[in-house]
């Protein structure tokens, strides 16, 4: 039974599996919006998505031009592999974000925590990638897939990003 049927509150369950700057925004935007609608929200950060919860890495997520034909700096793949191209792509994306008055990832994480969005940190990813709980921002729940599925099972909307 969905949380809507149980207590009148909708629930959103997201999986954030990617750690590039442009890929970190969609789950955080959906989470902020759902919270504004009065929904309960949980995000399961797994594999590279876990970088979004990393104390240091979330402040310097990048946009790669490699294998990304939509990258802000459009160059042939081999040129994209040259030193500095990821930096250029990232800088361009950050400029667009700034000009659009869109907050940075740290601000979006604050918005999520202010609204009691559950931030699940995938324990398997932590084991595989050698991430300690102390490497993560405050307010995360270290959890395995079962805990997330238990949360997602009652969700009205579930998405994998």
């Amino acid at each position: 039974m969905s949380t809507k049927e149980q207590n009148g509150t909708r629930r959103l369950a997201l999986v954030a599996s990617k750690g590039a700057l442009d890929e970190a925004y969609p789950p955080l935007i959906l989470a902020a919006t759902a919270a504004s609608l009065g929904w309960e929200v949980g995000i399961y950060f797994t594999f590279y998505g876990l970088d979004i919860l990393h104390k240091d890495k979330h402040k310097k997520l990048k946009v790669s031009p490699i294998g990304n034909p939509a990258a802000p700096v459009t160059v042939p793949t081999l040129v994209g592999a040259l030193p500095g191209m990821t930096k250029a792509s990232t800088r361009m994306m950050k400029k667009w974000l700034d000009e659009s008055n869109l907050p940075g990832i740290p601000e979006f994480l604050d918005m999520a925590r202010d609204n009691d969005v559950k931030l699940f940190a995938c324990s398997t990813t932590m084991g595989v990638m050698g991430v300690e709980e102390s490497d993560l921002i405050e307010g995360c729940d270290v959890a395995g897939a079962a805990a997330f599925l238990d949360f997602a099972a009652d969700a009205d909307v579930q998405m994998f990003i």
């Binding site: 909708r10 935007i29 959906l30 902020a32 919006t33 919270a35 504004s36 609608l37 009065g38 929904w39 659009s100 008055n101 869109l102 907050p103 918005m111």
Partner: protein
């Protein structure tokens, strides 16, 4: 249509893109008293779809939704609950 509505507060959300207009509208309405009407001015064309959806999801009453070309204007009456 709007002459007998008393606006308690106006929030200028110009220059902000999703999710910020809805995010800030939600905070403003939470802080207002039940039954109070808050006015929102937006420049995100998406807000024309977003504010009615926001009202449906939260129970706040959408009193006015107005497309003024460059800007969009909304009046929302705060729900008793939510």
């Amino acid at each position: 249509m709007t002459q007998d509505v008393t606006v308690a507060q106006t929030l200028d959300l110009s220059g902000l893109l999703c999710p910020l207009p809805i995010y800030k509208a939600s905070i403003a309405l939470k802080k207002s008293a039940a039954g109070e009407v808050v006015e929102f001015i937006c420049t995100d064309p998406g807000s024309l779809e977003d504010f009615p959806a926001f009202a449906r999801q939260t129970g706040h009453e959408l009193v006015v939704a107005e497309d003024r070309g460059e800007t969009q204007r909304f009046l929302l009456r705060r729900a008793d609950t939510a």
